[in-house]
Amino acid sequence: MTTLTGATVTGGANGPAAVGHNAGRRRNRWFAQVGWRHLVGVLGVLFSLFPLVFVVSAALNPLGTLSSTELVPTGGVSLENFGDLFARTEFANWFLNSLLIAGGASFASVFLSALAAYAFSRMRFQGRRVGLLSLLLIQMFPQFLAIVAIFLIFGTITDLWPAIGFNTPWGLLLLYMGGALGVNTWLMKGFFDTLPRELDESATVDGASHAQVFFRILLPLVAPILAVTGLLAFINTINEFLMASVFLTDTDAKTLAVGMRGMLQGGERNTNFGIFAAGTLLTAIPTVLVFQFLQRFIVSGLTSGAVKG
């Protein structure tokens, strides 16, 4: 196809007399075929980047207030905000809490739904169809809609077992795992369905147990997809605010989302903006890096679940 379009372009330049004229036409044609694409791309990049430039500028702004922050830092730069962030807030604690909760919840939820997806994809049993359909239905009732009931239930749990109650990472972790099956099982089942059944059948004939088929054969094959699913679950959990804000009220038990929102509440809103921006950048660095690294898998992961099934 490239040769086809290439031929038309060279075909347009015929005769030395028309060179100047042709250059203009060629530029027009270049714009019609390629140039506008770059224009759209650049506009898109500008739209994507300007809030991020603003965040970087705010994080480096030595005054650290919202009102003194401009799109491009003109009043010099300093790393003061990063120091203040750790000195004045519990940012390090929040960061660790978030990593623990999001890391634990995404790992466990991917594992639990992989187990269930294996059963749904490879085994035939009574209630399979009902099970799959009810998962679809349950998923439409997002967990946080039941927030009132969750709040009341965990009130009792806090009384009985304070170790997994309010203001502990473990309680929130358990809660997030409750939403695991509903969210990822269908997607995972799609991935398992794309693997040929002959693989595990031949292993079974060779004497492998169902657990060996799962752990030794299927799991390694879907590992890249598991990583992507886990990453997206991780990001969704980091960003989860509603349940975390009801759960975690002690300053040092908070997650990043709950704690950093607190920085921008009330009278401190203007003055804290610099350290808030610094915190945003620190939160973003790991996810952005992994994202760029896994980008290719993300595209295929998101669509293969949906397109091929």
Partner: protein, 546 residues
């Protein structure tokens, strides 16, 4: 934010449509029975089951202590079932389904059922417990200081955060020096030696509690005034921040007339079991009521109560507009850019893609807050850049436009990614064939590319719609529902149903858990119906284009 990775994706994979293998389980089960038991497998089984037993024992003690026998039975049965399942060789599918299902039942299905049952009660502030609890609360809140009331040195303490944790009173008996802990449930003695007592009797430190200093205590003086500790002869209340008195209850419950009598004024309030409150002859209700079943009244209130139904309809319409606008907007923008970059002659697509998806990789909660401050009237970037002084979140339409713009920014990289993936899956021959047949680029896009894209992406569009329909963060972290009409502080112009529900249950005003639960069910019904209809339509579409 864009849609999470929620997976109604392979809608075409509804069971029954896939290749179904029948008749083999019995043979394969016998085959599996011959599989040897490996050492690693056995060790893993022993460790995991030991862990289960350990957790069960750990969880059982508090249940016994609190005499929660039903809970104990459930715990014992669950543990026994787990042992039966994993020690035996049968029920292979269940072995894989049970771990996730247990969490699903405990933390999703039970809360959902609980929500459904709460929706039919008047549960909320003023209607929390049983009738007896309400009577105790009425009696103890009517406590007044009478001449000769006993006075005690008081310290205020908490087990949690000094600014937000639940408060307790630490009271020293001036005669014996014994320290007691009091909260709204009553007074319990504290172990001797667990507390440090200053001269004058005030407790300065106690094991397991944080004693509030003067500044912290005065910041919470309202909570301290409201805390009433019931005692045998009446109740303890604070008088200032460092003294407590034991007063006498003015109001008392009379079982004979099922009413509450005020001994000062002689007024009576009779119990009304339909309302769950004590009501006087002139219609005055006591604030402390109890939880009763109110049938469908939480649901009919949405339709009949004029203060609710009008704003509610507005919220509902805006909720749909927001979800459609966010999903449609991000899809169109993402698809446009994906189409623009999808050309064999384009150079640098990787660089473009890397920069374009940055908003998707940023923590969205933080970026929502950044956007909120960019729209700030006084210091915000947008007003600064354009030299404006618009109060963006102050007017209905500018606030709505602003939140949709923010959603567009957060969500379009996701749509760009998935549209790129789907475009790459469309065979180029199809568009080439149509251009050979003389179709303009626009015609071939409309007739070939777009339908194929829609078929591939509609499951994602549906789940993105369902996600945005309940996109709590998008509103709560930016406008918080503002602007609010002057006469209604519970329902603002950018409120979604979910933020409205949250405010009903956890907002500053009296919590209305029952009503909030009813609205949750309402949201569920809407999302379920919309998803069901669109899934059905997707499947028809597939049959047309496939």
């Amino acid at each position: 934010m864009s849609a999470p990775l929620s997976g109604p994706g392979p809608a075409q994979q509804v069971p029954g449509r896939g290749p179904v293998r029948t008749g083999s389980p019995r043979t394969s089960r016998t085959a599996r029975n011959h599989a040897p038991i490996t050492a690693a497998g056995l060790a893993a089984k022993v460790i995991l089951l030991g862990l289960v037993a350990g957790i069960a024992i750990w969880a059982a003690f508090p249940l016994v202590e609190a005499e929660k026998w039903v809970g104990l039975v459930v715990l014992a049965l669950t543990t026994a079932a787990l042992f039966y399942l994993y020690l035996g060789r049968r029920h292979v599918p269940a072995k894989y389904l049970v771990p996730g299902t247990l969490f699903l039942i405990a933390f999703q299905i039970v809360p959902v059922l609980y929500t459904a049952s709460t929706a039919f009660t008047n549960f909320g502030d003023g209607h929390r417990g049983s009738k007896d609890d309400a009577i105790v609360a009425i009696q103890s809140s009517s406590v007044k200081q009478v001449p000769g009331s006993a006075q005690y040195p008081l310290s205020v303490a908490t087990k949690g955060d000094p600014a937000t944790g639940a408060l307790v009173f630490l009271i020293t008996d001036p005669e014996t020096g014994a320290v007691s802990v009091g909260d709204s449930e009553g007074l319990r003695p504290l172990d001797p030696g667990a507390a440090t007592i200053a001269p004058g009797g005030k407790v300065t430190a106690a094991d397991g509690y944080t004693v509030l200093n003067f500044g912290q205590a005065s910041a919470r003086s309202k909570d301290i005034t409201d805390l009433v500790v019931p005692t045998a002869g009446g109740a303890l209340r604070s008088s200032g921040l460092s003294r407590a008195y034991e007063g006498k209850a003015v109001r008392a419950y009379d079982r004979g007339c099922d009413c509450v009598k005020d001994s000062d004024s002689g007024k009576t309030w009779t119990a009304d079991s339909a309302l769950g409150a004590f009501v006087s002859a002139d219609g005055e209700r006591l604030a402390q009521g109890w939880k009763v079943n109110v049938g469908l009244s939480n649901f009919t209130r949405v339709l009949t109560d004029e203060r609710i139904s009008g704003p509610f309809l507005g919220t509902l319409i805006w909720n749909f507009a927001f979800a459609i606008g966010s999903t449609g907007g991000t899809f169109i923008l993402g698809m446009l850019i994906a189409l623009a970059l999808h050309s064999p002659r384009m150079r640098g697509t990787n660089l473009y893609r890397m920069l374009l998806i940055l908003p998707y990789a940023m923590p969205s909660f933080a970026m929502l807050l950044v956007w909120r401050d960019m729209f700030n009237t006084d210091f915000g970037l947008i007003n600064n850049l354009f030299g404006l002084s618009v109060d963006w979140f102050g007017q209905d339409w500018s606030a709505r436009a602003a939140v949709i713009l923010v959603q567009l920014w957060l969500g379009y990289p996701y749509m760009f990614l998935v549209a790129t993936g789907a475009l790459q899956a469309i065979p180029r021959e199809l568009t080439e064939a149509s251009s050979v047949d003389g179709a303009s680029p626009w015609q071939s896009f409309k007739a070939v590319t777009l339908p194929l894209l829609l078929v591939a992406l509609s499951p994602l569009l549906i789940s993105s719609f369902a996600f945005n329909f309940n996109n709590f963060n998008a509103i709560y972290l930016t406008t918080e529902g503002a602007p609010f009409p002057a006469d209604n502080s519970s329902n603002g112009a950018t409120d979604l149903l979910i933020t409205y529900t949250y405010r009903l249950a956890f907002g500053g005003q009296a919590a209305q858990f029952g009503f909030a639960a009813a609205i949750s069910l309402f949201i569920f019904a809407i999302v379920a119906v919309v998803s069901a209809i669109s899934f059905r339509r997707t499947r028809q579409q597939e049959e047309v284009y496939a």
